[in-house]
Amino acid sequence: MSGTTPTAQTTVREPHPVDVSERLLGHSAAIRELDEEIQYAARSDAKVLITGESGVGKEILARLIHRHSNRSHSQLLAINCAGLPDSLLESELFGHVRGAFTGAYRDKVGLLEMANRGTIFMDEVGEMTLRMQALLLRFLETGEIQRVGSDRPQARVDVRVIAATNRNLTERIAAKEFREDLYYRLNVIHLTVPPLRERPEDVPDLLDHFLQTYAERHGVATPKLSPEALARLVAYRWGGNVRELKNFVERLVLKSRTGLIMPEDLPAELLPPAVPRPQTTVRVAVVDSMFDRMVNGHESFWTVVYEPFMLRDLTRDDLRAIVSRGLEQSRGSYRILVTLFGMAVDDYKRFLNFLRKHDCQIPFQRFRNAPGREDEGPMNGAGDDSPKA
């Protein structure tokens, strides 16, 4: 997409080919019912709010609704509303006029205008600031686009909005963090995708699909699962839901040598099945590699961690593990951590806001008593001087 900033490009994405299918995968009652609801939603033109944990496939639902709707001849554009500063999100959605801000060298059309007669999928809508919520509400009421830096509306557009969140919006409304009027505007058709652990009968279908898809993609024979291996995968908790399963299957396909996957080929966290599963499943190898790229390879946190996290290839537990590991080295100082993770010193506030927004800001105090720690002033921690969200 031309004209977007590098940061914004990470938020606007085309569907991953692996995710494109005609219907939801799985045969559980919940999925069959969702399939039916998708058909009703597609034949209507009402706004849709999709809720469910991270990784359950909310965007897939949005794409299916769009594909089966009478807007399918037009575009579906997707944007992740989390992690973007207001100014960038506003410019992405509504566009801007030349000279609106430093670096705005030419007029830019926003996604809502680009999606005219089509659909926009707004993921993580619960993370929007109250200011952005007000702008979105005004758009939903009037359909008018006012580009950043312009003093009047440029266009009226016809866009179907499908929003998604993994937040409990009614709790956010009670906490006055989400506008109730916006909630009722967005929540005309309400679809909830249950977590994978509540529908283990869908796991075999998902495994079959991704095994076949990744085998084709990597040009290898489709591996088979032994009954014991399958049983363990069905019993596994899948805290990261379908996204975790999908990533897991790709690794399995790449590692498979014999074509038959036995229980011993599975990662340690899947063995043995009788042991209660840990609440957190941090992928140590991934965390190690990312940590090394930043600390030794001097690559930036924004490239190494932020981007995969926003694309959901990294879980919160992974992010927390990376931050904890960094705090061990920086002895509890978030300011030192910023430098350690290859960021500019000025990125400190943005970094902390990002961590706080995603509930990944680890208390620094417990790292401060590490032996050999040098004294630091209060400005060196993420305590008193941390920016307010």
């Binding site: 058909q39 009703y40 939603a41 209507s44 033109d45 009402a46 009722y184 005309v188 058709i189």
Partner: protein, 119 residues
């Protein structure tokens, strides 16, 4: 004349009780439902002559129920009671073939809407 069957959906128990009693007194058979999911099951169990639903049903919108009812059981008349004016929702309701009735509504006016929908 056969008694007409009205499926009444509202997540506020007192309103649900008030509406069903009023309709019963006017000669209608009613099935009261406090929840969206119950209403879907009730629609499947015995097709009512009319669906009368509030717009707010917990996390669901009465319009979603209207969309479901009119697509799955075409020809089912739907009245949606709403406390707030919203042109986009009104358009959506019209597209689904549902009638919006603004609250507060006098009982005789509501009964007139019901009679109009299922003469």
């Amino acid at each position: 004349m056969d008694q007409k069957h009205v499926l009444v959906v509202d997540d506020e128990p007192q309103v649900l009780e008030y509406l069903t009693s009023a309709l019963n007194r006017s000669g209608y058979i009613t099935t009261p439902c406090p929840k969206y999911e119950d209403a879907k099951a009730a629609l499947a169990a015995g097709r009512p002559d009319l669906l009368l639903t509030d717009i707010r049903l917990g996390p669901f919108n009465g319009l979603q129920l209207a969309i479901f009812a009119t697509q799955k059981y075409p020809g089912t008349p739907v009245i949606i009671l709403t406390g707030y004016e919203d042109p986009t929702l009104r358009d959506e309701a019209a597209r689904a073939g549902a009638t919006f009735v603004m609250k507060p509504v006098r009982l005789e006016d509501l009964l007139a809407h019901v009679k109009n929908a299922i003469p």
